[in-house]
Subunit: 355 residues, 4 copies
């Protein structure tokens, strides 16, 4: 019998980190054991550890979380503890160095940042990575698998480095993939993705944009024609920049994404046909829920779950299609998807610990 | 010197009615005098009056509002009091009978409902008016002026019946009118209007959709391809149904609309040219604020004002334009616009009492 | 080996019902089997069944919930299916008849309503039960056990009828029980309980008070000196009406209760002593979390958990104590506590399925 | 005829500053003229000016606000411009130096910070003023008048330095003053003030406590037994520390305060007597609204107004009284009250420009 795997989490301080800790503490294959939590700072720069429950009081009493400590990041200690899989819930700058470090030590990685999601240098430009052209970075990028299980299940299972997708990207790619792969979408007409996200997507750092007074009772579009997740849409959906518009908006809610996506079809269709296409495409995907024709998902039904909910409305002309896609940006859009990837990498059922 | 005009308000019980009462009580030309408030019910069916401040406690002490009573609707009393202008903040079914009644008595009307906004019978079908084909209804409809001051200022000034526009329609028509009238928009490519509104737009009646638990922490699309305001867009913008998509969403906020509008231009343009086009088009419109190229309006800056805020973002290709339009659905989208129309009808400056 | 128990839920339509369904569907002892869902209406008055996921779309795909149907309430069918434990998530009027009916059929009951919580007729008066003095009602009331596991664990285990406590009452009784039972509280000086609850506590029926526009961006006190849960405080804490004030407020959030409780102590104390008293009192209670002296619970840390969180602040004089108590009104304040009671009644660990 | 007064505002960058600018721009005695806006930084340390509408886009087009600039703080320029009254919407550290500077130049001051509100050194200790014992500070403090018009109307009219009260303090002092001054309150029994405030009260600086994710869907008590406004309660109500408890809570709303205040009366009373006492006490105070016995104020009715709303509930024993006090923390709790003080200082009607 295989020994209990040892799992590491670096950067457990943020919102996605807290969700990740919660999911792992209750994962039926782990049952709270074999978990190693690390902060963002290296052991060299910080010698103090904190209790997990001081960072996230809501985790107290959960499967003994009260005893767990978050250590400064220490690679030797991690290797000595036998960690075989490491989640990086760290800023992308840090993931650029941590992922190669882990690879060198034979530790498989699921990186939740944007550090390794993009194969095309033009799409990566927006991140302005300092090590863009280093040999290590090039090799690491080539090894990275885009961690969307519904599209890359097999590659993820065998991957050494999984680049967990962006939250908006997950919501939009899952909504469009069946149409694009079936050739039904008229990409040249242009696809419009009007997406709206709760504030947790903007991270835990207090800024003028995450201030309650800015976000509450408000709605604002941001990063118009310039959001980092755009590259993921282009690469995963095989689109050109002029074929898609992606407009993010900041919603006055803690969590949840709803994307309203406008596609023109190459030929007339019916709601039933569209529904059948999606059901077929996702027949092996337990974490996608297809709504019956005539009903649409809402944010409230997907938050606190790991599902991506998809629904449709077709214009009377049968050619203009609206897809509504909902998910929880901290779960299917981040930590839940990361656990889904872990399950695949360790040979477990994709949805374990995610119900 | 002309005598102080006598102004009536029927249906002062709802959210738009409360805003209307507040605006009229503080209007510098009225100063709280000459106001007559009525409920929705006829005097025949209800003999009781209520204090305005029992309906809307926030109005207490405002210019003597504490003394004001809301009477059952009584046409003879209204005429006897010399009311020359009547606001109908009533459901559209009631406005269908009240507007002709007022006309017969020589009382000018500003109707805030959807009863008289649409000249094309096909567009009116969605309302299923019982009196659709009666002679009175046909004549009343022909006399009705669509009450968007920025487009129909002169006709409104002389009108006997002004049909105050829908809140979504105001936000979208003002955003698109300059592009459509200049011929710059490629209407055949299709315009996408992704609009989001606060809950007050859904009215005061408690329903499953206005329940706090339904609306809070949520976002949902509704009336997809089937919203009543669509006809206003078609008529005012001279578009065909297949040329425009309008998708309303319910935002978890009390008030405010943000519409994100996607237009393809017939030829390449620049942000400066677009800004100049809009500034020129609205040069005489004090209640429209044009944002400088590169900045976008947000709901928080337009609520509690009567402005419609317009901003733009142009794709690098110079042909795909996003217009963001914001307004307060209870002010520029309802009561404020109604007062703006009143100002025009009584020969006052358009923005009086609306700063 | 004992057979899998058959569990019934009547009134699965509301918010507490949805949480109850979710908890039962994932309970490790049930694993989605042996569950029977009923609506509020009798089979005689309604012959239609609905899918559980049409009532609560968020439950789709959860352990096969998609297949489950909600039947009209049918006692013979329930008995025939071998239901041994029935949750009543029904209005108190209905629970007054359903609980005796179940008793007659040998079905144990956990009633989430206020029908059977109060032993003193004076405290019950506020409910105006029509069957107040009937022999059946008297006998049923005598058999009922107040379902607060932390105070009545043993009686609950053996009970035929458990009256699940009110949400506010749970929050306040757990906060005060250690002080009252230790004799440290100066009850004659008067205890002040200033409590605040999210809107789900007001139920699913759309009313003027649950309208988004009423609750959002607002705070209001209600039922001052007249809330139904007051009787539970008096009976469980052995207080007289003049010894306690309980003031509920409606918070603009979906879920969560925070009670701020002001107690004068009979003799000087320290934060450490108070903390030790509480830790000792709740040493066997896995669902109560005691905060360290100097730290206070917040609603955000208790929602979506079944914990009741308790924290303290003591004035410099060592005699005036503030207790802050937080819980999720739908979990520890309703459905979670009901499952905790089920666990006790069926001989399982108190916290199973509640982590 | 007296010349138009020249008015200065320093620190117009925050939330109270924005409200102050809005109120002054529309004040009927000023009509947008004679206003001089300054930032927080001295001219020496910052040479740049900004447009008022870049700081507060919602002010665009309001009475020509688009043209107004916010200058670095420049005392000589201010004096040269003939500024006779200066609002300090600055942090208390800065007000400690700015108020004496203004005094020396003969400029009257309304300070919105906590710098000069407290006459008792023990109460000031919590601020840890660096200049606590300097001669200038002592003299300035002695000259300062506590700017609560309802209690100190005459002194404010003649004052050179008005210390505008804290938002919580205003809400609680106005609620308790009639009871304390009439001798009806049993102060020795202890008064409990459970107060709740919207997030704007915490200021514009982004912190972990003002992050949307911290405040939204949450309620938390803070500064328990240690809030800076406590000293104002003690001094204005002539109470000893052990006679009052003040517990602030952070509400998940942008603006508004509701204080629930528990007082034991020295002898039995009735709701009518209490109401009469308050109506008499505030008969000359246009900005206090007394609710009829049996009705209670709510936050939604006082926000966006300058009123303090007061209502009551009396226990059946006639001795335990609950007072509910509501106001808008940015208006009656800050900028509105400051304008009310300005009106008194300049000899205008107290409520001008505040309806």
């Amino acid at each position: 019998m295989k020994a209990m795997p040892q799992i590491g989490v670096a950067g457990v301080t943020g919102y996605a980190g807290a969700e990740l800790a919660r999911l792992l503490l209750h994962h039926p294959r782990l049952r709270g054991a074999g978990l190693h939590f690390f902060g963002r700072e290296n052991a060299a720069s910080s010698s103090e550890s904190a209790r997990l429950i001081d960072l996230h009081p809501q985790l107290a009493n959960n499967n003994g979380a009260g005893e767990l400590r978050v250590q400064p990041l220490d690679w030797d200690a991690m290797q000595h503890a036998g960690v075989e899989l490491l989640f990086l819930a760290t800023p992308h700058e840090q993931s650029r160095t941590s992922a190669p470090e882990a690879a060198q030590r034979g530790i498989r990685v699921i990186d939740l940042s944007g550090a390794w999601r993009l194969q095309d240098a033009a799409n990566r430009a927006i991140y302005q990575f300092e090590d863009e052209s280093s040999a290590v970075a090039v090799a690491t990028q080539q090894a990275a698998i885009y961690g969307l299980p519904e599209l890359h299940r097999d590659a993820i299972s065998a991957a050494e480095l999984v680049a967990n997708p962006g939250c908006y990207a997950t919501s939009i790619i899952l909504a469009l993939a069946p149409l694009v792969e079936s050739g039904l979408a008229d990409a040249d007409h242009g696809v419009v993705c009007d997406a709206k996200s709760g504030v947790s997507g903007a991270g835990k750092a207090p800024t003028s944009k995450t201030h309650f007074m800015y976000a509450a009772d408000n709605l604002s579009a941001y990063s118009v024609f310039a959001h980092r997740h755009t590259g993921e849409l282009l690469e995963q959906l095989h689109l050109q920049p002029e074929q898609i518009i992606f407009t993010p908006h900041l919603l006055p809610i803690p969590r949840g994404i709803l994307s309203t996506i406008y596609v023109t079809l190459l030929h007339k269709s019916t709601g039933k046909e569209i529904e059948a296409l999606y059901r077929s495409f996702y027949s092996d995907s337990p974490m996608v829920r297809i709504y019956e024709a005539g009903r649409l998902p809402q944010i409230q039904y997907s938050v606190h779950t790991n599902y991506c909910d998809l629904g449709f409305a077709l214009a009377p002309d049968g050619k203009r299609l609206i897809i509504v896609s909902c998910l929880d940006n901290l779960l299917k859009g981040a930590a839940g998807q990361a656990v889904q990837n872990m399950n695949l990498m360790l040979g477990w059922a994709e949805q374990e610990g995610l119900a």
